[in-house]
């Protein structure tokens, strides 16, 4: 088999996958724009003219951003710890991905047992007299962000870890041996080199959080409906696929508005780091 043919055969599965994905995307957007064969923005007009939908979109993006921030704050030190761990690193990795073995519904319900009005924390607070009545620890923004962070944290850790594992330990040691304090070494060596992983993690977590359905459904309150939940309702209850497609397109465009600059930054950074490495 010639080399070009071999390459073509190897690329064929991914080409088919991409083709199917793009076809689906085009169909999705098309079904929201074509009404009785004519180009029509009626669904978009209807969505963007409703104050509750606009608020829902804002809430979705805000919640996704806050979830991403929480995952980053928790994920970066965890990834650093695992990367520098001298013992059985595979065991730590197993612990990180362990939650994936449990259904997302069960994981979310786990928080009900801990944070609910009759849950562990509220029972302790009321029993000890620290609170007169149960605190509202869930069915609000806090509950949704906590639940999403629990579900998505492994993605952030693994994205950062995959890059950190490539950073030679002796770079940090060299920095410190030249007089750099730990904070300085972190800021000038570790952080810049791990940024591609951080940006990948941010992209992954942000995108998954914007489309979340189950966690906001189970842990959100009255005012915590997210766009993913609304899309689910349009598909599963009203069978209004064009409207669901329009909502999904709005979500896609707004998510891309955040993710594309991140991707550009990541590429620029990768090029810069690679140039620096060559120099």
């Amino acid at each position: 088999m010639s080399r070009p043919l071999r390459i073509a055969v190897l690329l064929l599965p991914s080409a088919i996958l991409m083709g199917v994905f793009l076809f689906g995307l085009v169909r999705l957007i098309g079904s929201s724009l074509l009404i009785e064969g004519r180009l029509d923005f009626a669904y978009y007009d209807a969505i963007l003219s409703r104050a509750d939908y606009v608020a829902m979109l804002g809430r979705t993006l805000r919640t996704a951003a806050m979830t991403t921030f929480v995952c980053l704050v928790l994920g970066f030190p965890t990834a650093y710890f695992v990367a520098r761990y001298r013992g059985n690193r595979n065991f730590l990795l197993l612990l990180i991905i362990f939650p994936w073995l449990v259904s997302i519904v069960v994981r979310s319900y786990g928080w009900v047992v801990i944070l609910g009005p009759r849950g562990l924390i509220n029972s302790l607070l009321t029993w000890s007299g620290l609170a007169a009545r149960p605190l509202k620890l869930m069915y609000n923004d806090f509950g949704v962000i906590l639940g999403l962070a629990h579900v998505l944290l492994p993605f952030m850790i693994i994205a950062i870890l995959s890059v950190m594992m490539q950073i030679p330990r002796n770079l940090e040691e060299a920095s410190m041996s030249l007089g750099g304090r730990p904070g300085y070494s972190f800021r000038t060596v570790l952080l810049p080199l791990s940024l591609p992983g951080v940006l990948t993690g941010i992209t992954l977590v942000y995108l998954m959080a914007t489309g979340a359905i189950v966690t906001p459904l189970l842990l959100g309150g009255l005012g915590n409906t997210m766009l993913g939940t609304e899309i689910f309702q349009e598909v599963m209850h009203f069978f209004d696929y064009p409207k669901a497609a329009a909502l999904a397109t709005v979500l896609l465009v707004t998510a891309l508005a955040v993710v594309l600059p991140i991707q550009i930054l990541e590429r620029w950074l990768a090029r810069r780091l690679s140039d620096g490495g060559a120099a």
């Binding site: 104050a51 009005p117 959100g220 069978f239 209004d240």
Partner: protein, 352 residues
Amino acid sequence: MTLTRRQTLASALGATAALSMPARLFAQSGPILHASWGGGVGDTWTVAFAGPYTADTGTAVRIVELPNPEAQFRAHAGDPQYHTGIGTFVQGVNMMRDDMLETFSLDEIPNMRNIDEKYWLKTEDGRIAGVTPYFAYYGIAVNTNEASVEDFQSWKSVADPKWKGRLGMTRPIYLSTYDLTILAKAAGDDEYDTAGGMELLKGMARNVLNVSNSLAQQNTMLERGEVAAMPFYSVRVWSLNEAGVDYVKILIPEEGALLLPYVIFAPKGVKDRGMVADWLNHIASAAPQERGAALSGYIPANRDAVATSEIKAKLGGEYDDLRARLYQPDWGYIAENQKDIVAAIDQMLATL
């Protein structure tokens, strides 16, 4: 024995094909496939309806549990994979309007004569598009460890600010059909004029701890006392009571409770039409409905069904006494306007 790679691949493909085929094959010949919700509903249908039918006629009925039978019917429109399925009355009306249901004459389902015509799912020309085997009702479930049944003698109580953070509530999709309808009735209006009901609903929404998304979640919240009360289904409380959770009670407030008819329908173009009509006729008869009542607390639609003394004790009277306290709205009107009502509720909730 050593399997070659080709043999292994062939076996795997064969197994995959075999696993993917049965529903389609069965739908074309063999037993009746009935799409049901899961949990207690599926069990009720297996024990009260399907098992005895098979024993009487020799025709096997397989109850297939699905999260949403309507979604399956719509997904396979034109190429039905199930002979019959269950839905809410609103779902039935919506599918009938979308011309997705097989219709039958009264002669094909003669037992329908024993079911009050106001519960029929029928087309404009009088053909039967679905059989209503039973009802539940939508009242107020109270955890008596957290509140007294006297606290909820009226639907208006749910809007009382003293219950702030102590009530449960379902999603707008069901608020639109159930809660708003009965709250409108409580406010002195009806499903055609829901302004007063919307005010009560707003008051209730201000009091809720959360919006629950599944019956299991609602059950748990009531059972654990996370909420003191919530509008809920009589049959779910029945199940809780049967499981020993006797401190959760279902109330019919003074304005009445909402009557919730369920409907069994067949997809348009269903195979084995005669067999399906016979199965629907069995569903419309009194005996399986009585068994359903004994198992799960469903109220039979067939007027010949008799309540045992045990059921009377649990329901608090004869079926007719109970029916008299239930409000049967114009489900057709509600189904037709559901999307607009959900939008109105969504927008109302967004202002809280």
